[in-house]
Symmetry: C2
Subunit: 407 residues, 2 copies
């Protein structure tokens, strides 16, 4: 497997474009269009929030019922959530506009929105935006990169990843883009991720590969514990790599799953590391668990603990908060068996052994915790299962961003 | 029922004292002692965190096994959590010191700690503190008030409440004190609450009254979603009001439960309203629920949502975040039936009707949200159950306090 440059246009046959449609932001691109030269198998995973945004409902229908999909229209600034029947109708109008301009069926157009909840989309500007983007569609990596920038809200960095693998003698590319960076606690999250591949694969296996992979990637990140109304991951496969279509779980399928995992994990970590206002990516590994489920519960409790997150911001080795969060997670374990380590580029330090503090150096701990990527490793010594979750620190800027997000 | 001044010394026969023992804070009182002239029935509810502080384990044993209790020793600054066997031995040493000085059995001494997790108590200073407090025990309301101040950590205000009711012709007083103000998400929370009453009541009914009441009071508040290792509520009843002992659930029992509820709810709201760094008490009422459990789940999801809490800090009527939090709570409801109102001293305003925004005035909403106590009311129109939860806003100061709490 080879990591390569690029994102949604890295795979053969995918084009992208963006435009400044003036949805809510001024003077910046705020719409993106992804298009495949040929029809794609489409898979999707969506928020499990009871309150689902209109585009989520639209896409769920497409992924479930349409034979194929060929385009995705995305806007940033307004989430089109809690917008009733009008909001859903606007999804259809958006798809219809793209359908006419791209000469593809309305049912092949996926839509996604991110931003403020409760406002209606300015549908005329959305439609004008779609029409403006179609002539600009580009196969170049730069096309994907400008699209990745256009879908940002409070993100500070565009997020792309791509890899290449060999499948049955053909080079297959998997690439994607995503955006965070608040209301991030995917179950599925306001995360949106769009992954494209030129692999030929059956629709069922494409969905299964995605559904399995998000459990270890997007569903293991949290910025603030708030599961959005709009969380969407879409995966399009257009078959242009020319491999024999994957229709069973053979070695080719496994190879693709590994490539998909690298792209999704990279995008997920970029989202966590660019959480609203954050200064550090905070990774938590739980080892020695009895079951995967237990390891997931424990690691997610730690990355969502406000107190732990604030301590990470302060470069404070406040390990008691980590043990405390594990303790209220709902998982059972013996606190008096836990070992805990902090690790980063600056080194690795054991802080507690069998539940009690070692005489570690606070200066050394602070040095390790001052890096932009920090890991806590907890060994509960019950079995062999493990899990990794990703979050970020809780900062003044998180509060600032969210105290007046709408203004 | 009559609200009266005072706290733990309001009921007949209860004394309190405090001292500056130098546990961790400098130049302030940091230990408190509560003592009853006569033996008390004792009831307690404790954290359900798997990681339980040593004093929690000590008190659970006393409440379960001792025939009666007569004193409570509290220290602020160090939580005596994650301290292994040594930490538990220190509980016994503390109780033994109080036992000798007060001439009561060791098994009649409850202990409680709050502060940093993982440090050992300076046991010599704790013992000296106990000995210093015994001669200062005072029945005056001021004795209770200084004790309420001594147990504060990041609290900005001391928290007391007391009421009087008539039971079988006797005046019965119920009074208490508590402290917050971070790691507050009681299930039970680092909340500590101590309630005293001169009521005569059986041990079983005292525990039942407390266990039922905390579900609607302490367990309905959250500052940061972190359930502490030390959460403890202790209720002592010394019988000195002279009422016939309550041994069944008669009208006297109901009268006492109502009095207990007023004291506990008042203390719980004070804790939420003085959450770390907060500027407002945030109350969330869910009405029209199918069941109490559903109403509890929905209201707690809203008060623990970081995004909603940051919006309250910004006086921003960002109702989408409230609906979003309800949506990911795990409770089922129809988002398109929800009505939502904001209410405070400054007025009441309906924001959404049947899931969609009304054309309300943002200025009016901001005015209502600028008060120190703000309520959101959500009607899900499914039934008649309701619940109220209390939290606070998420502010710069919360982050500041918790980024360098230990230093």
């Amino acid at each position: 497997m080879k990591r390569i440059e690029g994102g949604v246009t890295a795979a053969v046959g995918f084009l992208a474009a963006c435009t400044a449609a003036g949805i809510k932001y001024k003077d910046r691109e705020d719409m993106a269009l992804v298009f495949s030269r040929t029809p794609c198998r489409a898979a999707g995973t969506f928020t499990r929030n009871v309150v689902k945004a209109a585009p989520v409902k639209w896409d769920q229908k497409i992924v479930r019922e349409s034979e194929y999909a060929q385009a995705i229209v995305v806007n940033a600034g307004i989430a089109n959530a809690c917008t009733g029947k009008e909001g859903f109708d606007y999804c259809r109008e958006t798809a219809r506009t793209a359908s006419a301009a791209l000469k593809i069926p309305e049912e092949a157009v996926l839509v996604a929105s991110t931003g403020v909840i409760g406002m209606q989309l300015p549908i005329d500007r959305i439609k004008a935006g779609v029409e403006a983007m179609v002539p600009c569609l580009s196969e170049a990596l730069e096309g994907g990169t400008t699209a990745a920038r256009a879908i940002m809200t409070t993100d500070t960095k565009k997020k792309e990843a791509a890899v290449q693998v060999e499948i049955s003698g053909k080079t297959v590319t998997v690439g994607g883009m995503c955006k965070g960076s608040g209301m991030i606690h995917p179950d599925m999250c306001t995360m949106l991720a769009f992954v494209t591949t030129d692999l030929a694969i059956s629709r069922e296996l494409l969905q299964e590969a995605l559904s399995n992979d998000i459990k270890d990637t997007y569903n293991m990140i949290s910025v603030d514990g708030d599961t959005s109304t709009n969380d969407t991951v879409l995966l399009l496969a257009n078959g242009m790599a020319g491999n024999p279509e994957i229709t069973e779980k053979n070695q080719d399928y496994e190879t693709f799953c590994r490539a998909l995992n690298v792209v999704n994990e990279t995008l997920a970590k970029k989202m966590a590391g660019d959480g609203e206002g954050c200064t550090a990516l905070f990774e938590v590994k739980v080892k020695g668990a009895e079951s995967k489920e237990q390891a997931v519960t424990l690691s997610k409790a730690v990355i969502t603990s406000n107190l732990t997150k604030a301590a990470i911001f302060g470069h404070d080795a406040n390990w008691g908060r980590i043990l405390c969060a594990m303790g209220y997670s709902g998982a059972q374990f013996d606190p008096e068996k836990v070992d805990l380590f902090f690790e980063s580029e600056a080194g690795r330090l054991q802080i507690i052994e069998n539940g009690v503090a070692l005489p570690y150096s606070e200066e050394e701990a602070a040095r390790i915790l001052s890096e932009p990527e920090v890991t806590a490793i907890a060994d509960v010594k019950m079995g062999n299962a493990e899990a990794t979750a990703w979050g970020c620190d809780l900062t003044f800027d998180y509060v600032k961003i969210n105290a007046d997000y709408r203004s």
